[in-house]
Symmetry: D2
């Protein structure tokens, strides 16, 4: 049974802790967080001990690490974990600073470290099923991909301020989904956007509505529609158009009740939060992390994929600012 | 081009008149109605001449007849038309009096008359497609059939008063659909019902809510759920359960717009009236009547089918009154 | 944190064990099963100790009991647990023998025992939401209720043999759902059925296809459509028709992927097993059991409700055999 | 009853002829086509006389004109019809040559001619309903609009050759829909595209897959996804995102049958051809043309709207060729 050390006892840390407790292949050994109370609370609920970082990293203790602490600590943690020779699951991004992320990736490579990035959507039953079927060839040649990705409500200004902006914070997941579903490098990026929904976001120099067009190496076209809000709730859909089949992945409704009156049929909103919407995705992500620890890397996002998605976010920001399409370097994939 | 004489210039008469005008294989030759203005109006709009009944029935005039006049005139008209040797399309029922309907059917048979009953649902694209697939065997053995059939609003007392009651007026269509989809005779009928929706209906001795259970000769079970009202509108659905496939025929929405807000997703009610809901069914019914006139009788409801459906309505009424299941005579199919 | 003793380490026992482990308000203290290995395996995975029954029932040990052992042990266990003064969650039914179930209920009452029956569908998000809205009055007067309840595949003969037959094994859940959603007693029952799907079931004297019509005290009509099979999978739907609103609770799809080709749109089957379909229902059932232990009984199924549902199953069997509707005694609710 | 002269007896001409025959407010007076047989056939079926153009244009004859002849005749016909003072319904585009279309529009204006362009999607029940609701303000501020518009199969090379290319032939409808739903001018256009589906289209110098991003004056973003093919059929959807409501207009299914098997649920493709899909839109378009003739211009596309949509097509072509976004002149709206 794989012993996991968890860095970070916040919201996403708790998601991992709960899943570790429910997964029969691993258990929560350590929780590390500067907030000792938070660490103790998680350890008490889901097993494991609240410890200092060096205890968790000591030889012969943890078999694997999950980095779910605040973003500004990821790079330093990865640098420290890289030489330990244990598998790592790291929440995205490695760093909001692209150069730092790049340097960190190089250190991971130099240490032959094995690092999986927490792009949970890859493990969503719907997205994973479409990936499988596209890879099987049953869809024929893919010519278009449409990704809808909208929050249910704008996050508060404090979140926006440290988020790195829409492209680095939200669209980065869509960039990874695009790369995952197409299975090929992106050649160019064009982005438009603005502040149309919540003026506090504009006041912070960020945008809350964007459309990003990608052109893949094969000529396949990708459209990503982003927003910090949708009137009906959390919008997470994908459409893949191939010469033999089209796939739609729809939203996941909160329930299956429909109410019919003279006004028509009223059915439920999508599941409201990322934790509910992606509940199964996070459960499977953990399971895939155990697989990854055991050597199976199929469809896993590594730190190379993380860097590629970040490069697309940087290109989108560049495009938005220059109002021109931006060619992407080959490495960015 | 088949010349049609239409008896009846009321609501259903106009549906036929409009479809005749739009169908390239036939034309409206005569309109007969005791209300001369109504006949003239229809003739003016859709072609043809308003005439007296004997003119329409004169030798060498009409090639086919459609009986869409008030129910209490059907039997006499069929008796008069039977010897003419021309194809007839008659709205259901032949008569609210079962003995009279039976006698009329015998006269039609004696005269070798060819009579198609206006069970329009047989020609609905959805119901017809399910019939085709059940007949093909792809569904395996059918073990259950569920028919939902509810009006969007209770009809006025004047309509109820002359309707013959729920089973003879509304359920009769469902009895025909059951026989059509199963393709086998019904062995027994059990009905429950009451006045739950509109007390004016109860005051007239009729019911506005009913459930009828049929057992077919093979053992297949049928559930018919009827009402004079559904809160969301006109409810016309069918579910067929076979050992290899299940078929659902859903309602036809008024439009495909969905509106998403914090309350959820609001989508359109079904098409509101029988004329809108069954627009294509009536168009195809007319087309099938031209086929029938030319000798093709596949899937056509004849006056024998009309009588069989009526026998089931009588059995349901009997069951409701005696509170016991009623065995159905073989002839009733 | 409520300490739970679990009787039964089989399939449904494991469902409860897993949910206890994930629920922060309780923990698994003891697992009791004649199969010592099974008990040990569950205790190892989800916490707690494998013990003999008397240890689990010893004073000062468990705070609550879950009876998830084989049906033929329920009555004896309840008799033993009744005097202990602790809340009990018992899987249905108390006994396949109605007289024994009745006697057991009397003993529970005599001991003032508090017993919740495991009718998990009451805690399904969809069914519970409809109950809430019907109770609120927003649906107006309920005149019809349609319950579809079909297994995805016939169970093996060994299961059928000890099941008590379709009505006592499967329909009993639908009887409870009908009582739960209508909130009023049932007055009469009429059942038809036969063996149409799997002849091995007929060879055992059981049926695999049934339709049951209930008439409630208010005149509301209920149609329950049952089968040991549906071609598309596990079918669990409800439709409630009120004078102000209609509610539909649909199946829960395995995923939200739709694949479009020249054949049309292919979308996923429902979740395949009761454990997947009712995952949230079982989680919430446990949570409601903790509430129940703390005194909140709203919408809880007690052993009285269990007996009422069983009485309806007996009446259905009686109706099937006598081919007549059966009046239900007042007590049966 | 408005007497209509119809120019063009081809496929779209027949759609109009049939609708004129079925509409009680107008009738088909003349059919003009260089192919005398085609004109005679239409006149025979739907009423009216096959005549030469000058007869149809003679004083005191037709009350209104419909131009549904081949595209290269539109401008000359409009020039001839402009001085007659009668309302005109002209299929898009006025001319594939933008300068000629512009000159023609100036002549129409100089003659005070009243010309409605055949952008039938404006009259589709779904699109029209969304327009109505957006205009009412209930959606709040519109920040995004997504238009999916894909043919069910690539047209033959002969059609492609004279089509003017994807943007002028297909996307032009989407440009009009964008202007119609947003109700404001477009500021910039960015287009990507290529030949991914049918190499014969590429061989003719055209593209068969494109994504066009529009930025409206308000900052609202529009994404148009185009293709000459979709695996499941004719794809015509719209999504409008406002700060108070989201609207989705879905495809119109060929029927409402769903077939459930072990593979899942198979439901029908969309209606296959533009004539079926937009049957009601064309019926309403004609009805609106009669309204237009009587002075009601609400939501009507005039030749100015036609020119604006064409300007966006020219800008998209320019963007595709230069690989940069193109600012649109104010007039283009």
């Amino acid at each position: 049974m794989m012993r996991i050390a968890l860095f970070g006892a916040g919201r996403i840390g708790e998601v991992h802790a709960r899943n570790i407790a429910a997964n029969l292949r691993c258990r929560l050994a350590f929780v590390v967080d500067p907030d000792a109370d938070a660490a103790a609370r998680l350890a008490d609920r889901y097993g494991g001990r609240p410890v200092a970082a060096d205890t968790a990293m000591a030889a012969g203790q943890a078999d694997a690490f999950i980095v779910a602490s605040s973003t500004n600590t990821h790079a330093a943690l990865l640098n420290a974990l890289a030489p330990l020779g244990k598998p790592i699951l790291c929440e995205k991004p490695v760093s909001l600073d692209f150069a730092e992320a790049e340097a960190c990736a190089q250190r991971l490579d130099a240490a032959d470290a094995r690092c999986m990035m927490g792009f949970h959507r890859r493990y969503d039953p719907g997205f994973a099923e479409v990936r499988r079927r596209v890879q099987s060839g049953e869809a024929g040649r893919i010519f278009q991909l449409c990704i809808a990705s909208r929050s249910w409500a704008p996050p508060p200004p404090d979140y926006i301020r440290q988020s790195g902006g829409l492209f680095r914070d939200q669209t980065i997941h869509d960039f990874d989904v695009a790369r995952f579903l197409l299975g090929e490098p992106i050649a160019s990026v064009y982005a438009v956007g603005g502040c149309m929904i919540d003026e506090r976001i504009g006041a912070l120099g960020d945008i809350d509505s964007a459309m990003v067009t990608l052109t893949a190496a094969s000529g396949a076209l990708v459209c990503i529609c982003n927003g910090r809000f949708a009137a009906f709730g959390y919008d997470q859909r994908v459409e893949v158009f191939g010469t033999k089949a089209t796939y739609l992945v729809g939203n996941v409704s909160a329930d299956t009740v429909a109410c019919g009156t003279a006004d028509g049929w009223l059915s439920a909103r999508p599941k409201a939060t990322f934790a509910e919407r992606y509940r199964e995705a996070y459960e499977r992500e953990l399971d895939r992390f155990v697989d990854f620890a055991e050597g199976d890397e199929a469809d896993i996002a590594t730190h190379h994929d993380g860097l590629a998605a970040q490069a697309l976010a940087e290109a989108a920001l560049n495009s938005l600012q220059t109002r021109t399409p931006v060619e992407v370097f080959a490495r960015a994939g």
